[in-house]
């Protein structure tokens, strides 16, 4: 069967924002995910100034306070850590560092990796060779080893941490992009653009990148979780973010030694990581459909039947 053709004249299209808003409403999971992420971003912005003090105030009588103790204030509902600091406040304060490092690392590695991948896939064999061998070099080092060396030399700061994590993840994007470019550039519509006289830049960014993009967003959301955990591993080794600064990953590793008698120390920050990455996944899944004109009707149909 060939694709169906709708012969009816197309109604006046609503504006782009309303259109995507409607498509987001049509996918309930993606909608919840988007709200959750917006809340997280807001917490990341205001969290440290509102809860900064309470999150680091020790209270040794409330050590490893179990969660769901409704008699205390709401800030204690998730319990307290080994030094009696409320976990809820700590998670909120840690949001900023965590998201900044993870988002920063993912964005840097994705952008750099994609651009290098596009170049490698589309330029002369020699440039391709140079870029690919560089990627091999990065991949052949254990990523933690690079991190240890770089952080030891440059000192540990959030920016350095971001850069280190980004560098170790670049080859993932680079290789994916290059492989896809090699396939897509042989497609007919790319040839058609060449016949029209389109420049390489135009072909890469107008014709090839949009086709690769969905794969890359999926990859990036998966990487988000990886980077958060890698960051906690670095903290654990003593070269990542150090107390009194906090991140979710650091909280998990701090709770590790109490796992048998105070599970909540690691559980809540773990839950935060899971929910964040899951939301990102749902949202990227929605984006893949919403940005593809061939698939988009699935969302628009659902939107109209749901009212």
């Amino acid at each position: 069967m060939t694709a169906h053709t709708t012969e009816s004249p197309i109604a006046e299209e609503p504006g782009v924002i309303r259109r995507f808003g409607r498509m987001l409403l049509a996918d309930k999971f993606a909608f919840c995910a988007a709200i959750f992420l917006i809340v997280m971003i807001l917490l990341a912005i205001v969290g440290p100034s509102w809860f900064g003090d309470i999150a680091i105030k020790q209270n040794l009588r409330g050590r490893n306070l179990p969660p769901f103790d409704w008699e205390r204030g709401w800030i204690w509902w998730m319990g307290a850590d080994a030094l009696g600091r409320p976990l809820l406040a700590r998670i909120i304060v840690a949001t900023q560092n965590t998201l900044m490092v993870a988002a920063g690392a993912v964005v840097i590695s994705a952008v750099v990796g994609t651009v290098l991948g596009l170049i490698a896939g589309f330029s002369s064999p020699r440039v391709n060779q140079v870029i690919m061998r560089l990627a091999d070099v990065i991949m052949s080092f254990p990523s933690l080893l690079i991190a240890v060396i770089v952080l030891y030399l440059l000192g540990s700061s959030i920016l350095n941490l971001m850069l280190v994590l980004a560098i170790t993840r670049i080859p993932v994007y680079l290789r994916t992009t290059r492989a896809e470019v090699l396939e897509i550039r042989e497609r007919m519509f790319v040839q058609a653009a060449r016949v029209m006289g389109a420049s390489s830049k135009r072909i890469l960014f107008r014709h090839i990148l949009p086709v690769v993009f969905p794969t890359l967003t999926t990859l990036a959301t998966l990487d988000f979780a990886y980077v958060m955990l890698a960051e906690s591993a670095l903290s654990f080794l003593g070269i990542g973010i150090q107390p009194p600064e906090i991140t979710w990953g650091l909280m998990i590793s701090q709770g590790r030694q109490y796992l048998t008698n105070a599970w909540w120390l690691s559980f809540w920050p773990g839950l935060a990581i899971i929910l964040t990455t899951m939301s990102l996944n749902l949202l990227s899944n929605w984006m893949r459909i919403a940005f593809d004109p061939v698939q988009r009707w699935r969302l628009e149909m659902r939107g109209s039947t749901n009212g």
């Binding site: 007919m188 519509f189 029209m196 006289g197 949009p210 940005f291 004109p293």
Partner: protein
């Protein structure tokens, strides 16, 4: 009741999609007897393959659903049998061959292993299977059969692979063979051979054959009776001669009228300077000589048809002329300048003059761009052609020119049918106001009736705008009504070059005559004459 081998009665199949329920076939009935060939003729989307999928239990359910009807094999209803019973029938009593044999043969096993497996799976000893496989491969005409059994599918040509598929299908001596577009992917000369083989085998074994095709010529060549399908409904049935000579339904009449090769032939008379003058173009891929010195001239506003079978180098020639590939030698003078030595900046300017329309519009249009973006991209790349405020107006004008409507502008390519998509591709080529358009098999992927429309459109553009065309095709009849000159290519060489009348009426070369004889004519009488010519050729 049980006098027909297979009888399909009031079969309806629905598919549930998000756009609602689609009736793929709507209460169709047909039957086929032993030793008889029934053709199911229809264009893409007519549902011609759905009923055979129902026979073979190949419909995915859901989303598909057989809503009514019965399929009787010797009087027993297949649709009421258990899955296990049907598996016993598939392969053993009903076998099927497909359009693309390469994707239906397992690439990691030898051909011999695959034929033997079919046999041993149904209870033959391996020694028996070996002799039987050898016999089958010999029977379908594979050269050096002993050795061929040890080879892998990719080592055979397309025609040979289809022969192997036929051998596998016949291994269990089925009563009914269903062939779904078995020759569509093959060259014309090979197509004629494969059809002849099918016919011979049918005579030997007395099996019934259902052949599903979009090509009237194939129907005339092989079938006894034909049923014509349109949009899921069966519109006409009868013997081939009846249907061709006195079609009852308007759709059948339209199909017959659309068959190419009946109009007036062009008489080129333009004298003067050629617009494009190609001399001794060569190209090799490794040790393989794709082009062995091609030379021709093209007058402004004329159409040169380049005809050849796969591997003849015709597409390579097109790619080289547009500098998508670099030639190894030779020259191509376009208005006195050699296309092959142009610097990138000059080439960019020249792109405006030379455009290309590709074979498959589904692939040549970027699926993520709207029609407006697709067509106006030409002006983004060449900003001096048209100022931006006028784009919308001009896109609308171009769409009307190729027979579409201006409100199609906001849609995406997947919302159009194949023929409409090819029109969009043509509109895009026209946006640059070119003087030469190279059409690489531009109508091969389209249905016959749409082929005729697109060719008429191209011919109109040639007359109105004086555009010259290089029209590449693998099939001679398609170019008969459209071309001024015809160039026949074989294995990277020009075999024959002349005006369309010279080539069609007095072909000089053996190969051209073979090509002409191999092409299938929808008229049963003409076809009989052609068959005789072919026989003569063979002997």
């Amino acid at each position: 009741m049980a006098d027909h081998l297979l009888e399909v009665r009031n079969l309806s199949v629905e598919f549930h999609t998000a756009m609602g329920t689609v009736k793929a076939v709507d209460s169709i009935s047909y039957h086929v007897d032993r030793g008889e060939t029934l053709a199911i003729l229809g264009e893409s989307g007519s549902g011609k393959s759905v009923s055979s999928s129902a026979i073979m239990n190949l419909i995915d359910m859901p989303p598909g659903r057989i809503s009514s009807g019965e399929i009787l094999l010797d009087g027993a209803d297949l649709l009421r049998m258990s899955a296990e019973q049907r598996r016993q029938i598939n392969g053993k009593r009903i076998a099927m061959i497909f359009q693309d044999p390469l994707s239906h043969l397992n690439p990691v096993y030898t051909v011999g292993w695959q034929i033997r497996e079919t046999l041993t799976a149904h209870g033959k000893s391996s020694a028996e299977a070996q002799t039987e496989a050898l016999r089958l491969v010999t029977r379908v005409g594979i050269p050096d059969p002993e050795h061929a059994l040890k080879k892998y599918p990719h080592q055979f040509s397309g025609g040979q692979r289809q022969r192997i598929m036929i051998a596998m299908a016949l291994a269990l001596r089925p009563d009914l063979l269903i062939a779904d577009e078995p020759t569509t992917a093959l060259d014309v000369t090979v197509q004629a051979e494969v059809l002849a083989l099918l016919k011979e085998l049918q005579r030997e074994t007395g099996m019934a054959v259902i052949i599903i095709t979009h090509d009237l010529g194939v129907v005339t060549e092989i079938a006894d009776r034909v049923v014509v399908m349109e949009k899921g409904a069966l519109v006409e049935s009868g013997t081939v001669r009846e249907v061709y000579k006195s079609p009852q339904h308007p759709y059948t009449r339209k199909l017959i009228a659309a068959a190419p090769g009946k109009g007036e032939m062009h008489e080129p008379h333009s004298k003067g300077e050629p617009a494009l003058s190609v001399r001794d173009v060569r190209k090799a891929y490794g040790g393989f000589q794709a082009l062995k010195g091609i030379s021709f001239d093209l007058m402004p506003g004329e159409t040169l048809a380049v005809v050849g079978e796969s591997g003849s180098g015709k597409s390579t020639l097109a790619r080289i002329l547009l500098r998508l590939d670099e030639p190894d030698g030779g020259s191509a003078l376009w208005k006195g300048r050699d296309l092959f030595t142009l610097a990138p900046a000059e080439l960019y300017k020249l792109r405006r003059d030379l455009q290309m329309v590709f074979q498959d519009p589904t692939q040549s249009l970027n699926p993520r761009m709207t029609v407006y973006q697709l067509i106006s991209e030409a002006w983004v790349i060449h900003p001096d052609i048209l100022p931006r405020p006028k784009w919308r107006e001009k896109v609308a004008e171009l769409l009307v020119q190729v027979g579409l409507s201006p409100d199609h502008m906001k849609r995406y390519p997947h919302q159009f049918s194949g023929g409409q998509r090819q029109r969009i591709a043509i509109a895009r080529a026209l946006a640059l106001e070119p003087q030469l358009i190279v059409c690489d098999e531009a109508v091969s992927a389209l249905d016959v009736s749409i082929q005729a429309q697109v060719i008429a459109l191209l011919d109109r553009l040639r007359k109105e705008m004086g555009i010259a065309f290089i029209f590449i095709a693998h099939d001679l009849p398609v170019v008969r009504d459209f071309a001024d000159h015809v160039m026949v290519m074989q294995k990277g060489e020009v075999v024959e070059l002349g005006t369309v009348r010279e080539v069609f009426e007095a072909p000089q070369q053996e190969y051209t005559r073979a090509l002409l004889a191999a092409s299938l004519d929808p008229d049963p009488d003409v076809q009989a004459a052609l068959r005789a010519a072919r026989m003569e050729h063979a002997s």
